[in-house]
Amino acid sequence: MFTEILRGLRTTFKMMLEKPVTVQYPEVKRPVRRRFKGRHELRRYDNGLERCIGCSLCAAACPADAIFVESAENTDEERYSPGERYASTYEINMLRCIFCGYCEDACPTQAIVLGDNYELSFTDRRQAIYGKEMLLVPVKEGGLPTPQKTEPGKFNRSIPEMNNPD
């Protein structure tokens, strides 16, 4: 009988030697997987122009109707993105978004990408609507903030050669 008790306690003693598995979350953050879809980001080209051209394809692809885009015309004096139009309003309701990534797939300029941030909790529903200024990434080094003054005829196409226009 005694050996049976020991055999039963073998797992218990084995577990006593193992390290605890708990992730001490607010201090230690477990890195997300490569394909994880978190909070959205609106990207820019290297020269600082926004990639988003305000075509609303992301809003059309969104199954939860979480995205609202309003577009306006670019001019050479005030240029936000290459091509004719840019998104003057870009709002994502984080409480509606289901982080499926369809917007990412629909975007012709790869402007919207889903990032790593998952810490989205709000005390008010209105805080959950993220505007363009919250979604846009900061300008990289060497780039200029939008709106930019550009020479005419340089950024005629909304979708340039998909690389960075300079």
Binding site: V23, Y25, A64, R96, S121, R125, A128
Partner: protein
């Protein structure tokens, strides 16, 4: 001011009642077991050993509303479930808080139909909304942290 200097040698610390009570409330907030859909899986995971909500004094999920302080509405609430939800909320003793976990509970999410309540804040007052479909266990814990912040800031005149 005066009392601490007089009693300093006796090991007495004074603090505001607000802070003491809010500290107590923050660190022993027992959630009610209220999983409705897929978010409940993540809620269970947050309770399990990998994320372990009992580090924050949420020792175990109470199955009874009378013993719980916090209701985590995890999942979509149907029209048929809404009266039950309200009734359970009414049975909880004061002070009580509600976390609306996930998109469906917060605003209906992808479900745009007659069967789903568009947001549980139509039925109960919600303190914290957690976004995600479903939120990761970390995101739920972040929501609980947000709630703790809110509870820490409560004033004595708001207690009813």
């Amino acid at each position: 001011m005066g009392i601490e200097q007089k009693l300093g040698n006796m090991g007495v610390v004074t603090m505001r009642l607000e802070d003491a009570v809010n500290w107590g409330r923050t660190n022993s907030m027992w959630p009610m077991l209220f999983g409705l859909a897929c978010c409940a899986i993540e809620m269970m995971s947050a309770q399990a050993s990998n994320y372990d909500m009992s580090r924050f004094g949420m020792e175990l999920m109470r199955a009874s509303p009378r013993q719980s302080d916090l209701m985590i509405v995890a999942g979509r609430v149907t029209r048929k479930m809404a009266p039950v939800l309200r009734r359970l909320y009414d049975q909880m003793p004061d002070p009580k808080w509600v976390i609306s976990m996930g998109d469906c509970a917060s605003c209906g999410g992808v479900f745009n139909n007659y069967a789903i309540v568009p947001g549980v804040d139509e039925v109960v007052p919600v303190d914290v909304y957690v976004a995600g479909c479903p939120p990761r266990p970390e995101a739920l814990i972040h929501g609980i942290m947000t709630l703790h912040e809110k509870v820490r800031g409560e004033k004595i005149k708001d207690w009813s």
